[in-house]
Every structure is written in structure tokens, then in C-alpha cells.
Symmetry: C2
Amino acid sequence: MKINGCNLHPLRIIPGEKGNVMHALRSTDEGFVAFGEAYFSSVKKGETKGWKRHHRMTLNLVVPVGGIRFYLHDDRPGSISFGRMEMVELSNENYQRLTVPPGIWFAFQGIKPGLNLLLNMADLEHDPAEVETADLSKFPIS
Amino acid sequence: MKINGCNLHPLRIIPGEKGNVMHALRSTDEGFVAFGEAYFSSVKKGETKGWKRHHRMTLNLVVPVGGIRFYLHDDRPGSISFGRMEMVELSNENYQRLTVPPGIWFAFQGIKPGLNLLLNMADLEHDPAEVETADLSKFPIS
């Protein structure tokens, strides 16, 4: 990926007659830091949640249902990818885990009708003191 | 619950205009042991996956989409709930986390049309040596 520290890891979907198994995260995977909290967030088609920036939390994001477009923006002083904006779409058709380190602004948008669901497996429990939010207009999304 | 060591923990669904946030697991929650692996499993309506028994793994199960009926059977020698069978249905309408300790036989059945999805947050990575499977007829499901 173009933003330093952000990574995509392909994940397996194992089909079965009764239903599928979909990998998400293992403690020995690249990008795993620690386990603090797992939670789901859904986003309706055309809606965008964000911007948010975590100061200490690393995110590990998977999209088991629907499709979600993630926007990432790097304004970390001194970063080799300073000023870059990146976009990635995750879904069953592009089933990967997105790792987002602390300090990256991110937003996400629902792109399919019906449920668009993400699971974030974070290394910290939710703590309002380590997260910053900004209006969507802060970094315009094309 | 009627089987010793199995527990249900109510979880919050926080509604939002753009989409919901649904809690799953925190490292300080009762029932959390360690983080080994998180994976999804889907099961079609009327289909039942199981039986399975883990020898070392503790499961933490949530159902973010659809509805799933879990069957639990205790044949641990010396258990105070030896011989008991228990059934619990999880869905958005009964959004709870089910903790299943090692040694319990379990099976699960899809109960809604469309996607029935569970997330298992386990304390170990998948290891075929610590899981035992049995035909569904081993403990008949009424």
C-alpha cells in the first residue's frame, strides 16, 4: 500500500455445503499487536463514517458482509508517505484484512445495498482519550 | 446456563443513523482467556454444523447477522452438569456472547433465511489435534 505502515493481508474463505468458514485474524499473523477489543460497525450504502484518527490503537479490519470502501490519509509529520490519501475496497470478492497503525486518519463508506459490516479487532479497548474525530470535509473524498 | 462453565454475556448494539456499532469482546470481559484466532462461520437455514468438542480451546461466540441455534452437551466425567443438553438461540434480537469452555460438545444450526453468521474469538489458533468431531446422530437433536 502507498501509506507507510498500512497493510493488506489476503484471507481465506473456505466454502462448505452447509456454509462457509472465513478467516479473520490469528495471533501469529503479521499486523497483530495484541488483543484489546473486537467490535462490529455497519455502514449503509452511500453513507460515510469518519474521519477518525487513533493515537495509540492499531486496527485490524475485515469485511465479512457487503462491501466497504476505506479512505486513509497520512498527515504524520516526517512520514515517508506524508500527505498521501489512499482508498481500498473490501468485500467477499476482495477478502483481505486491512491493518491501520496509529496516527492515520480513516473513514469508511458503505458500497453495497443491504448490510455492509466490518469487524475491527483492535489492540486496545475503546478509550475516547486516544481517538480524534474530524468532519468529513477535513480531507475531501472524491 | 444449565451447563457448568457455559455463560451468556449481554452485548450492546448502539444504533446510528449511518449504521450501528455492535460490541463483541473486550480483553477485560468475563469469559475472555486469551486471543488465539478469530474466524467467521456461516450456516444455512436448517443446516446444522457439528458435533465438535475442543479439548483445550475456549470459544467466545457472537452472531452479528441472522440467527443461530447452539446445542451444547456436557459429557465431562465428574461435571455437575454431566449428561445435560442445552440450547440457546443468538441473533440481533438476543445479542449476547456465548462462552463455551473446553470439553463441551457443541453444534449449531441456521434458523433464518439468508445469512446466519457467527464470529468465534478463540483463545487458541486452529489445531486439528485438539478438536474432535462426531456425527450429528451422536447426541440426537430434538
